[in-house]
């Protein structure tokens, strides 16, 4: 009974709140969802010149999935890595630097940009970690500060040293040389390489916590740091490790943003996908395989909602509200189910 409840109750909460939201927004609940699907993968799916849209959706999915994979690591270590936005941005900046400054045969160049992105994100993650372990600065605020710094750095680079030839503007840098673009399928931006890396990252994170001692120890650090320390785990080193893994994955997400989706550096290069990934991971309850469909759905909302304005005259920000409602209602639905299960269990205990 309570097992059914723990699935049905959250699901019902989600459906009811989404429908209520759409009714309040002044449309019937069906149209916006259909338009989002249509705008992101085509309707019926994959028909009617949908290749480009699908490509975009996948390329939005890649950084969200990568960031989510990284966040699963830091969450398991008990850390709120809000600095993930900055780590994506620094990955993008490092990859952009590599793309601008280095010329090499294409496969090597691609490899170099990806490595650069990973290193850029990793160092930024490490910095948040050092602030936490050596400085005692709560990772939420250290991370936020580093996000602001990374954001300012992007703007500075775009209007300063990397300004477009001719007029400097905040719309972005010149496009990178085409050799540095992530190789994509014909007529789309879909880069199979990026998608494979994202999938591998999620599988890797699953394996990390499923079958390695490192993952087990990391989890122990997250659950109970003092005890882990007393048991001989160098907790600070494990925390730094978690931040570095997360930063590296987020940085590769940044590479994909700069060299796969935009082909230039823009001020909002992270696309807020780091924050979105936090929502995804919370909704997936830290399980890597659930991240795949959830982040894909979030990517569909992100890509598909701009067409809401054209089609049903609903503001595209409805997409963001939808994502928020989803996570919020799932969270409270689950919480409520858990609360009821606990109460049933305790009242049963009293009777017996």
């Amino acid at each position: 009974m309570s097992r059914v409840n723990s699935v049905l109750l959250p699901a019902a909460t989600v459906v009811v709140s989404v429908v209520a939201l759409l009714l309040l927004a002044g449309t019937n609940p069906w149209d916006p969802l259909k338009i989002i699907v249509e705008g992101s993968i085509g309707w019926p799916p994959l028909e009617g010149g949908a290749a480009r849209k699908v490509g975009d959706t996948f390329m939005v999915w890649v950084p969200i999935a990568l960031a989510s994979a990284g966040l699963i690591v830091t969450f398991n270590a008990g850390m709120w890595n809000i600095g993930i936005e900055g780590q994506i941005i620094m990955g993008a900046i490092a990859a952009a630097w590599m793309a601008r400054e280095v010329s090499a045969p294409r496969p090597l160049l691609i490899l170099l940009t990806i490595v650069a992105g990973a290193v850029g994100g990793m160092l930024w993650g490490l910095l948040a970690g050092v602030l936490r372990t050596a400085g005692g600065v709560n990772e939420i605020f250290g991370g936020l500060g580093l996000n602001f710094v990374a954001l300012s750095l992007t703007t500075y680079l775009i209007i300063g040293p990397w300004a477009r030839s001719g007029v400097a503007s905040t719309s972005g840098t010149d496009p990178f040389p085409e050799d540095a673009w992530l190789p994509a399928l014909e007529g789309t931006k879909l880069s199979p390489l990026a998608v494979v890396i994202a999938l591998l990252a999620l599988i890797g994170v699953w394996l990390l916590f499923r079958g390695t001692l490192y993952g087990l120890k990391l989890k122990a650090v997250g659950r109970n740091r003092p005890s882990s320390f007393l048991l001989g785990i160098p907790t600070n080193r494990y925390l730094l490790g978690a931040f570095m893994i997360c930063g590296a994955l987020a940085g590769i997400g940044g590479t994909s943003q700069a060299l796969g989706l935009h082909h230039k550096l823009i001020p909002a290069i992270s696309g807020n996908f780091g924050y979105l990934a936090i929502l995804v991971v919370l909704l997936a309850r830290f399980r890597p395989f659930w991240v795949i469909p959830i982040s894909f759905f979030f990517a569909m909302i992100a890509v598909g909602s701009p067409s809401l304005q054209l089609r049903v005259d609903v503001n595209p920000t409805l997409g963001g509200v939808l994502q928020g409602v989803l996570v919020l209602s799932a969270m409270f639905g689950l919480g409520w189910a858990g609360y009821r299960a606990l109460r049933e269990a305790s009242s049963a205990g009293v009777e017996s």
Partner: protein, 325 residues
């Protein structure tokens, strides 16, 4: 280098100081709200979103009714409602406080963008200026302290009242007890969780009033995410202020001064005009990092006087749950 100094010297004129004092009102309310909430042990991480949603609610009601004052209770209600969701989720449903707060931040932000889109560019309404007769004509102190409007005066009065309540009343002592030693407070007959609901709601209401103070006084009108990042700064200032209302108020003024300095720097470094206005945000976090640096704190511990001024520890039971067994 000369530019940096010039911009700093330029800050010390009466008009600039007066504008720092006046512009701090929104952050002042919100910071007091978050301090009260955290002092009772509940971290309301949704500030950035709830402040924004409240700013919208306040603006919309003020515009629709034509009476600016109606905006404030509306904003307070929105802020309190969001805060109660945080309290309910963490106290009743034992959800992670930080998680609930973060999701609410994202949700409220997006909701304010969605609901507010038709109000972008709407002609603003503002709180009328009201210099205190007599006092406002004192040289320097008049324009700096007594020539603003009711909202600004109330912001500073709120700081003083928060301080007096927390440290000079029985109820305030109970509030601290709930956040420091909930078991002890419970054994002394204080209803810990009820108090936490109550003070989180009060704190949320103040955060909401802060939002309305922004859209109806500090920067009139509505645009896309007008208060963005201010909520995070509020959370940082609460830590910077060591969960003490007066010190937090100084943190707010420090942030205002940083903003004024950054704006003064623009004419000196025109090429950086796009970057400079956002510098106070990382700068404030850097300040927070410095005052929290473990090594520095250890050094401070050797000087009791400095320690008393500069250091203060978080409420012991912050972010934890309390259950009666």
């Amino acid at each position: 280098m000369g530019g940096l100094i010039n911009a700093f010297v330029d800050m010390f004129d009466t008009a600039t100081i007066a504008s720092i004092v006046a512009g701090a009102s929104a952050l002042m309310f919100a910071t007091m709200g978050e301090t009260i909430s955290e002092k009772a042990g509940v971290i309301n991480l949704s500030v950035d979103g709830s402040m924004m949603l409240a700013a919208l609610a306040g603006f919309v009601l003020a515009v629709e009714t034509g009476t600016v004052w109606y905006g404030f209770p509306a904003a307070a209600a929105v802020g309190a409602a969001v805060a109660l969701v945080v309290a309910f989720g963490s106290i009743k449903l034992s959800l992670n406080q930080v998680a609930v707060g973060f999701v609410l931040f994202a949700f409220c932000t997006e909701l304010s963008r969605f609901l507010g889109q038709s109000y972008v560019g709407n002609p603003p309404v503002g709180v009328p200026a009201w210099g205190i007769p007599g006092l406002s004509s004192i040289p320097f102190f008049g324009p700096v302290m007594f020539d603003h409007n009711v909202v600004v005066y109330l912001a500073y009065i709120t700081v003083i009242l928060t301080y007096l309540f927390m440290y000079r009343t029985r109820k305030g002592l109970e509030l601290q007890g709930v956040g420091e030693r909930p078991e002890a407070a419970h054994s002394r007959g204080v209803a810990v969780n009820r108090m936490r609901y109550f003070y989180t709601a009060i704190g949320g209401a103040l955060i909401g009033i802060g939002g309305a103070a922004f859209s109806l006084d500090v920067k009139l009108g509505w645009s896309d995410r007008p208060t963005r990042n201010l909520g995070w700064i509020v959370l940082a200032i609460v830590i910077f202020g060591g969960w003490h209302p007066i010190r937090a108020a100084f943190g707010v003024l420090l942030f205002g001064a940083l903003q004024a300095y950054a704006i003064n720097l623009v004419p000196e470094f025109p090429s950086l005009s796009q970057v400079l206005p956002s510098i106070p945000f990382p700068a404030m976090i850097v300040v927070l990092v410095v005052v929290n640096w473990k090594t520095l704190l250890k050094w401070l511990d050797r000087y009791p006087f400095l320690r008393a001024i500069l250091r203060s520890d978080p409420p012991t039971a912050i972010g934890t749950r309390f259950e009666i067994n």
